[in-house]
């Protein structure tokens, strides 16, 4: 296999409140011999909220991010579902609407950039599965995750709208997603089957509609717990933040005790590949997760 090389769009959370996401991503890439160039020029994707305020501006900023991946001639990978969706939406809008593309490029020209549409945009989860391959990952497992029942939580923005994602997520079916289950399998963990694996965590209305947010994340976590999950794993740091940080208050809203470690997808892979405790960064979780490092062994 020729060496894989990607431009990494880190997004905001991996640089701030979830440093463990960035360190585990880089550790996994290093273990697997995947070369990563961090797009230090990139800005925030708008997280759907900038889009609510000013959709055109959001397209301009996302197009600028993509320009830097294009300059390197690399596929842009994301480690956040919402970064993935918003970048892919801009790419789709510009690639299918020449008039909009021209308008955006008119702005980009002012800072000496041009959006061409030459770079693919893919979440790291699908880069691992589609490009690196599950069989190859399996060969590298040093610490099989066979001690754990792991609940995959897919996160909306990698799987819906399916039409937008199909070219970059291996045609994942939003009603029967399998990628995370397959990855857990490859790492020799036990995937937990539960109804809420493809549902919404409520993160995006955490501030403005807190009750709704708590109900959605609570339903999902309780469903995972009732199906004997020891931990949950998600490819999205926003799902992670919602589900890891607010377990106390969420539990009160849905009337249940919730104690469930929630791992980032790269943390789970890093754990199985035998990366160091520091790289996996379980200490950065609000819901205690550091014990998993020893429990896996």
């Amino acid at each position: 296999m020729s060496k894989l090389k990607y431009a990494l769009f880190t997004g905001c959370t991996a640089k701030q409140s979830t440093p463990e996401l960035l360190s585990s991503t880089l550790a996994v890439a290093d273990k697997l011999g995947i070369e990563i160039v961090i797009l230090e020029e990139a800005s925030c994707c708008g997280a759907s909220h900038l889009q609510d305020f000013d959709e055109f501006l959001a397209h301009v900023l996302n197009a600028r991010n993509i320009c830097y991946a294009e300059k390197l001639g690399l596929t842009m990978i994301t480690i956040c579902n919402t970064c993935q969706l918003n970048s892919a939406m801009t790419k789709h809008a510009l690639d299918t609407n020449p008039e909009l593309k021209a308008k955006v490029n008119e702005k980009l020209a002012e800072v000496g950039l041009e959006y061409k549409g030459t770079s693919e945009i893919k979440h790291f989860l699908y880069a691992l599965i589609e490009d690196y391959g599950l069989e190859n990952i399996k060969d590298k497992v040093e610490v099989p995750l066979s001690n754990f029942n792991i609940a995959p939580f897919y996160g909306c923005h990698n799987i819906r709208p399916s039409e937008l994602h199909h070219s970059s997520n291996g045609g994942e079916n939003p009603y029967v997603p399998t990628s995370l289950d397959d990855l857990i399998d490859a790492l020799e963990g036990h995937p937990v089957d539960y109804d809420h694996k493809n549902k919404c965590c409520g993160f995006h209305v955490e501030l403005q509609a807190n009750h709704t947010s708590e109900v959605l994340s609570g339903n999902a976590m309780v469903d995972a717990i009732d199906n004997n999950a020891d931990l949950m794993v998600t490819p999205c740091p926003l799902c992670h933040l919602k589900m890891d940080t607010y377990q106390d208050s969420t539990g009160k809203v849905v009337g249940r005790d919730i104690e469930l470690p929630v791992l980032h997808m790269p943390q789970m892979v890093a754990l199985a590949l035998g990366c160091s405790e520091k790289e996996i960064g379980l200490n950065f979780h609000v819901q205690k997760a550091t014990q998993l490092f020893d429990e896996a062994r």
Binding site: C12, S17, C156, H157, P161, L207
Partner: protein, 329 residues
């Protein structure tokens, strides 16, 4: 490969007048490759149990009566090929009404909440029309194009009952009502645009409670993409000066403030800016837990401390915001 497949279909059975709890019954049948879900509903009734109830009418994807959920996926029975779903769900199909808690009999639900919310956004052109007009009120191609595909909605309820917010918050209008609100607010013959936008700007019922899950986009059998219209309504509220300054609107606009300063989002600032200092007490417990885990630092919220990482070439980002921003709060 044979053109037919022998399968067992599980159907939700419930009669609100006589049953305390619903049950699921199995129906075995040979399914042909061209059969629709509606054909299978008919066959349950005609070949197995005459009391099985569901709505159906046009059989052409126009009336919107026959929406149900199959294995949780919203479908319009008369448009959905059965074999496609058998492939998708490993030959095990479960028929359920769009909303189990609203079930009246089997697949039939009480859609009152849907119709009330749809009506609340005035889903019609409101205009004073001369009873004896001299000429027609014509629409140009450009004017018509602005409506996008929002006019294709058949009010089947697929998106409405796929929306998790509709389930969690009974005031929320839901995606179908927002599509209608958008469709009539951009109609140049209409005079109720501001009133409609104000209704969609109201917290609780309006677009600000949307969780961005895209279930509606996935559910729509007419491929309307309701959340695209929800985003447009958000933008229109700012464009037309309807947006009030509140935690939701500041949360959207606050992104510009952060990106201008850092390129990235300032995670502490967006909370402080959206909520206002006076409401920060709500977040102290969370902030404390996050600080303990090393996710944030107490100095993050202080206006004179800047811990936020900066994008390289930040000047480009600032310039692009300056020349591309179209809206104001």
């Amino acid at each position: 490969m044979s053109d037919t497949r022998k399968v067992t279909i599980k159907a939700f059975r419930f009669n609100a007048e006589t049953d305390y709890l619903p049950s699921y019954k199995d129906y075995e049948m040979e399914v042909g490759k061209d059969e629709l879900i509606l054909d299978l509903l008919n066959r349950i009734k005609w070949e197995h149990d005459g009391s099985f109830s569901y709505r159906r009418s046009c059989r052409h994807g126009i009336c919107g009566a026959c929406g149900i959920k199959v294995n949780g996926k919203p479908v319009l029975s008369c448009k959905q090929n059965a074999m496609e779903l058998l492939d998708m769900f490993n030959n095990e199909l479960v028929f359920e009404p769009q909303s189990k808690k609203r079930a009246i009999k089997d697949m039939i639900i009480d859609k009152k909440d849907f119709w009330d919310k749809h009506a609340a956004v005035k889903p019609y052109v409101e205009a004073e029309v001369d009873p004896h007009p001299e000429h027609e009120t014509k629409q140009s191609i450009e004017e018509f194009n602005k409506i996008l595909d929002a006019d294709l909605c058949i009010q089947c309820g697929s998106c409405h009952y796929a929306c998790p917010v509709v389930e969690a918050n009974e005031d929320y209008f839901g995606p179908a009502a927002f599509v209608a609100a958008y469709r009539f607010s951009v109609d140049t013959r209409d005079n109720a645009g501001i009133e409609r936008l104000e209704a969609t700007a109201e917290r609780g019922q309006g677009v600000w409670d949307c969780v961005k899950c895209y279930e509606c986009a996935e559910a729509c059998p007419k491929e309307i993409n309701p959340i695209e219209k929800i985003t447009k309504l958000h933008n229109m509220q700012f464009e037309q000066g309807v947006a009030q300054s509140n935690v939701a609107t500041r949360h959207a606009e606050g992104f510009v403030r952060s990106i201008q300063k850092h390129g990235f989002l300032d995670e502490a600032d967006i909370v402080v800016y959206s909520e206002g200092y006076l409401n920060m007490h709500k977040h102290i417990k969370t902030a404390f837990k996050m600080a303990k885990a090393g996710k944030i630092h107490f100095t993050d919220a202080l206006p004179w401390v800047d811990n936020v990482p900066k994008s390289k070439n930040l000047d480009e980002i600032q310039k692009l915001i300056e020349i591309s921003m179209t809206n104001k709060l």
